[in-house]
Every structure is written in C-alpha cells, then in structure tokens.
Homo-oligomer: 295 residues x 2
C-alpha cells in the first residue's frame, strides 16, 4: 500500500488518489492470495491449471511453499519469461500446440490421468475468492476510509474477493469496476442483469482482462455488490501505465493500470472524492513496457 | 522496504538480497529525509540551492510543507520534467545559461541579494546527514538483521547518514559503498586516506553520482565507518536496473541500482550473506529508462 504523487496532477485536480499496489505481492500480482488459500485449504497434493499468466506462477509458488505438486498447461507460444517464471517457482510446465489440442482438453485429460489431482480455476472458485477477500479486509482497516475503491475486472476474481472482504469487515464502501472498453463483457453483464460473454478473446493490451466472461460465483457477488463499471479505452490504459511510471515510480502492468485509467476516463464520477485505486499486478515484459513508454 | 524475487536468480545463488526502496519516499528519493530535516531545523525562512536533481525537488516540497520559501537554480538545459517537478512542489526556479554564468556564482549572488536566506548544500551539511540518519535508524530495527548493507555513493550524504543512524542505534552492521567505476573518486579517496576529487563531472549514467568529490563532513564519517567500496561498471549498472524491473517490479533510477550492481560486480564478497541493498531513488525519465530496457 503506497501513496502517490498523482495528486499533484492537473488532470486529477480535486480527486485524492491513493494507489493500493499488489505489484510487490509474492509473484508480482494479487493472484498469490487466491492461489495460496486454495492450495492450503483444498485437501489435495497435486494441482493442475491452464492459466499461463499470473495465476500459473502464483499457484506454482503456493504449492512449492506447501510442499505440494503443481502442473501448469501453457501454449508453446508463451513468452519464455512466463515459462521460466513457473519453473523458477517449482512448477511443472506442459507445453502444448494449441492448433492441435485445446488447453481445456489437455487439462481434462491430465485430470483423468491424475485422479487425485485438483483442477484449479483462476477465479471461479470459492477458495480463490476467499483468498482475494484478504485484500478487502485489509482495505477495510485503512484510515482514512476512502469514498470508493476502484478495482480492475477480468474474470471478477479480485473484485468479488474485495467486496466479500469489505462486507465481512462491515465496511460499506462503494466498489467500482474498471474494465477495458475492448473487453467490456462485465459492464454489459451488469446492464443486462445476466452474464454476457465475449464471442472471442478480446484483443486488449490488458492481458489479465482477456477473459471470455465473468465466473458464476464471481457474478453472484458482483451483481449485488458492484456500484458500476467504467469502461477504459486502450489509449487511456496506456496513459495510466505512463502516469504510474512518471508520478508514482510504480511499474504497473496494463491490467493493473485499469483502475487509474477509470479515473482518467470519467473524472466527474470521482470529483471531490478520496479514491483507493487497486493496482492488481506489475508483471509486464520489457518490450511491451517500452512500447507503452514510447506513446 | 520490500522483499524481492532476486533471490531466485542463478547469478545471486547463495546470497540473500532484500531491497530497501526509497523510490516511494516523498519526491521519489531519499533526498527528502535530509531536505526536510534541514528546512525544519534551520531557523531560516528562505532556502536557496543549486541542485537540479532529486535534492531540488525534495527541498521544494519540504519548504512547501513548512510554509517556507525555496529557490532552485537550474541550467536552462535541464529536462522540462525536472523543472516542472520543482515548480509542482511550489519551488521557485531560476534558469541560467551555464555557458555565461556558473551555478555557484548565481547562488552566491542570490545569497547576497537575500541576506536572510540559507544556501543549502545537498549532502555536505550536518542537518542533511541527520535527516539521512533516520534511514540508518530504521534499518537498525529490521529483523532479521542483515550481514551487511550496500549503499550507493555520490557525494556521500546517504552513506554517511546511514552509518550515523546505525551507530546511534547501536547496530554494528558492515556498510559497503557502491560507486560507478567511471566516478570512483570515493573509492580512490578511501585508498588514499584523503579526499580525491574527479577532474571533471564524470559521464556515468548514474546521474546522482556525478559529483566532483565527497563532502568534508561526509568524508569524516565514511573514512572510519565504511567497510569498502565496490566500483560498478556502466553495463552492470544498466543490468541492475533491468533486474529490478524484471524480478522485483521495481522502477529504479541508475544511481539507485548501484547497490544491486555491486553484488553483480563482486558476488564473492557477499557469498552466503544476507544483504540489504538500499535503492536510493526511482526518478528516471522515460527515454533513459527505455534505452536501458533495450540493452
């Protein structure tokens, strides 16, 4: 949890912004909270997941710390740094050719071959939500209490966890979602009153929000607990990454910058308020980061 | 103060590294500690300094918080972001053409025009050292206690402050300096037993270490209190910035990365030890940072 110099910016005049950073969490994103809670409480010795992003690394480290086994199915085309990341935390990597076989089929087959293993979902899971709720409980203890909390939304794991944790702690603080405009299935779901899925994986730079739809468990919490969702254009996501770099010395991944981007997109919504912006993670490769800084 | 994933790296095998980050300090570097302590204790209403880097911004904010006046003399050629930085903290900026007049002359003249003002030195000052000593006292309270602390060295303000703070707290922990090989006047001074100055401003990427020599007050503390100095080549400084980016999600300025670079330069010195690496600041502009990430 850190403060920031964003408050000096003309663009944010009248809005008090505090960044809540999960970029220094174990494995560099909030995902470790859910992964560790799952691996700790689920009475299994072997976990299998298809997540090639932050959840895969988080689950690998969680299992290592708990002396359990972890298998992560990843496309052959994954960035080497991500493959190395999982391995460095002791995870077993299975590389597949996604033109030949889907990740889902591979995980299913692995499950049949390892009947004692647990197939871990990165957000639609009660233990994962319970793990992410620890951040909500931490936010409830901070003083001064903010007027609202802005949270990036992909599958809804973090936002549903934060709402759960805040309510457990008895804190009635507004929670606002921040979603890429290019991947606005959650915003459309909230408007429709039911889960709406994207037709295909959205091509947003916020790779943590390239989910097809919200999880069922997450949706049940978000439909009642989320105030609204701000849809953030791609260029504003990139600008938010640069602002975190220039004015907060914070290395943020595009998905993590969505919460800052929400304020830039709709400043009127936050006028006169003290806002906690949750920065969900910092894992972005050098090439992508360089291209964003160049904009 | 944060931990890091640097410990997973093969290159650092057997060395336990903890990063002590001042990049989220007010104004983005440790300089605020000394600047605030000086502006708070010195019974003057107006402070003048020639520092165009981190100290200028730090003194401007310190004076603003204390309702005092601050004037910063900067070369016309300073990066606009630095000029804007000082102004955003309420400092008055005087731009000079350094081909026509030196900063020293300008500051001297300003002092004559403002006889009540105090000419602030960014490191060779007892209040500045006392302010930086607060970090030493904080380090003395941390558990587990490290085997040694590595600190970037420019003018010697931070390193002399940390040694002072540690000794005040009764902590007898080795302090090792990290200096650019291109700007190794402190290492040469330690070998010679007297202050040796650089002939001209060294052309290192670590701009906070482009000082001509150690300060007198700093030298008196360092000659007795510093264990040794590691001289870090330019390419290793750049590599250290990239390692902080990739494995700690930490945006570090080149001067701040010197402490990590010292371990990479001389790993044998740190074998089997638990090392606190002080990262002194994070203020680096996007163009420089991009060029380092590209290496």
């Amino acid at each position: 949890v850190i403060g920031s110099r964003l408050n000096h910016l003309e663009q944010l005049k009248g809005i008090e912004v505090t960044l809540i950073s999960e970029t220094f969490q174990h494995t560099g994103s909030f995902k470790f909270r859910g992964a560790f809670t799952l691996a700790q409480h689920m009475q299994k010795e072997h976990f299998i997941t298809a997540s090639s992003g932050n959840f895969g690394q988080a689950l690998a480290l969680a299992c290592k710390l708990l002396s359990k086994r972890c298998t992560v199915v990843m496309p052959q085309t994954s960035a080497q740094v991500k493959i190395d990341g999982v391995r460095s935390y002791g995870g077993e990597v299975i590389l597949i050719d996604t033109t030949q076989v889907t990740r889902g089929k591979t995980v299913h087959d692995l499950g049949e071959q390892n009947p004692g293993a647990y197939i871990a979902h990165s957000y639609d899971d009660p233990w994962v939500i319970a793990g992410n709720a620890t951040l909500g409980r931490e936010l409830a203890t901070l003083v001064p209490r903010p007027d609202c909390i802005v949270v990036p939304i992909g599958g809804g794991g973090l936002s549903s966890g934060i709402i759960t944790g805040l309510r457990e702690a008895g804190a009635d603080i507004d929670v606002i979602g921040a979603e890429p405009l290019l991947a606005n299935d959650a915003a459309r779901s909230l408007r429709a009153g039911e889960i709406i899925a994207n037709d295909q994986e959205p091509d947003t730079i916020a790779d943590g929000a390239r989910t097809l739809s919200l999880g069922m468990l997450n949706w049940e919490i978000l439909r009642k607990g989320l105030q609204q969702i701000v849809e953030v254009p791609e260029d504003v996501i990139r600008k938010a990454v640069r602002m975190a770099f220039s004015y907060a010395n914070l290395k943020v991944e595009p998905t993590g910058a969505l919460s800052i981007g929400a304020i830039l997109t709709n400043p009127e919504l936050f006028a006169g308020k003290h806002v906690y912006c949750v920065v969900s993670g910092g894992n972005v490769d050098a090439a992508t980061y360089r291209s964003i800084l160049t904009d």
